[in-house]
Symmetry: C2
Subunit: 236 residues, 2 copies
């Protein structure tokens, strides 16, 4: 199966959680909006010009006749196909539940620079962003990462679902990479309390296909248009 991924071409953003799974599995896929004419095709699909089931927002994945949106939904679909998920229902639901908690966390990360409205500029909501980010770094990051650290410990490790790598481990890698980029000072302190997750991050970074991907032009650099933005005034 050749997959077609549709996502904003200039950022890692939410699409990156899907890219990492496709790359780790060595799947055949196209990052469609980065190709000539791709943006037009993506917008047409969202506008439901020909589709009866248009997605609300990117990323979405085309797999044969199926068009699937929402990162966690895409990974739920891809997981068993890419051998990045258990096959039993209980295991798949548990993994999905963890990924939905990642999705909640990602939204809160996004809101550090857009607490008032995603359609407004960061420059127009800087005081609110500073207040939001302070609470976010003090309360929310330790709470989310602490939760995933607990899940890891309870599984027995070395991965969040125990012995086998699944897509949640790739997402943990991306969360830590992104938080390090956005909040380097705060993360120095916070990481000390989640050593297990840092080990998961290191193990994922060392996987041959991920390593090759990160060194390739397919990996877009972090920047100030994505989810994880480095605004020093928001860091500790």
């Amino acid at each position: 199966m050749r997959y077609e991924l549709f996502y904003w071409p200039e950022i890692q953003g939410r699409g990156e959680f899907v890219r990492l799974a496709l790359e780790d599995a060595g799947a055949s896929y196209g990052d469609m909006a980065r190709k000539p004419g791709g943006m037009n095709r993506m917008m047409a699909m969202m506008n439901g010009v020909r589709d009866k089931r248009p997605p609300f927002a990117p990323p979405f994945l085309k797999a044969g006749n199926l068009v699937i949106a929402q990162v966690a939904n895409i990974l739920f679909f891809l997981g068993p196909r890419l051998k990045l998920a258990p096959r039993d229902e209980a295991g798949r639901l548990w993994l999905h539940q963890l990924q939905l908690t990642v999705a909640d966390f990602v939204k809160e990360i996004h809101d550090t620079h857009h607490p008032v409205g995603s359609g407004l500029y960061y420059e127009d909501q800087k005081p609110e962003a500073r207040r939001y980010a302070e609470n976010f770094l003090d309360e929310r990051v330790p709470k989310y990462l602490g939760y995933f650290e607990t899940v890891l410990k309870k599984s027995g490790g070395p991965f969040l679902l125990a012995r086998k790598t699944t897509y949640i481990d790739l997402s943990i890698f991306q969360l830590i990479e992104g938080l390090r980029y956005a909040f380097p000072r705060a993360m120095k302190d916070i990481e000390r309390k989640v050593p297990g997750l840092v080990e998961v991050r290191d193990k994922v970074a060392a996987r041959p296909r991920i390593k090759a991907y990160l060194a390739s032009p397919r990996r877009i650099a972090f920047n100030e248009m994505g989810i994880f933005r480095h605004y020093p005034e928001l860091d500790r």
Copy 2:
């Protein structure tokens, strides 16, 4: 199967989307945290005292040995069992995708009164809430409801997945009820643009089991501790 639902006992909140599905199906379930000792049991499960897979937050559902958290995940699991979802994979994923978009919307609704931090009081973030709510009512509510109206039209109706009622219709009912409670002035205008969704709301409200549920003490009244809060200063 008897289900056990765990959720904060004093609010509709996110748990209501699950309650509506259980009630509409006439399922056998207990609303556990509203029973004596139930809150302690819920907190123990979240703290992972005995469970290897503790949920991050309520609501969660116990079904036999399974414990499932995240509203959309719970509904994905319950859907076919309660006959509120199609049985084919494509249909289930599409319905789940819509429910995940509801989840995103619910988070934005919550943030109208908590734009800076969910752990802070509303009273300590009122100016930010006013700015947030204005943008929310002007941009976000029309965008989300307009999207669901488009989905309804494209399906051919009368429900969002065409002929059969599914759990997304129950969620649309709850969204409209909640938004009417929280923002009665703004909703008068907005509803005119989504007449199809209002019809779905009316159809759901007239379903015998939903009607009985809404009139029963099991339906908690809207209040200023839940997701949908009526603060007149945030309305248009």
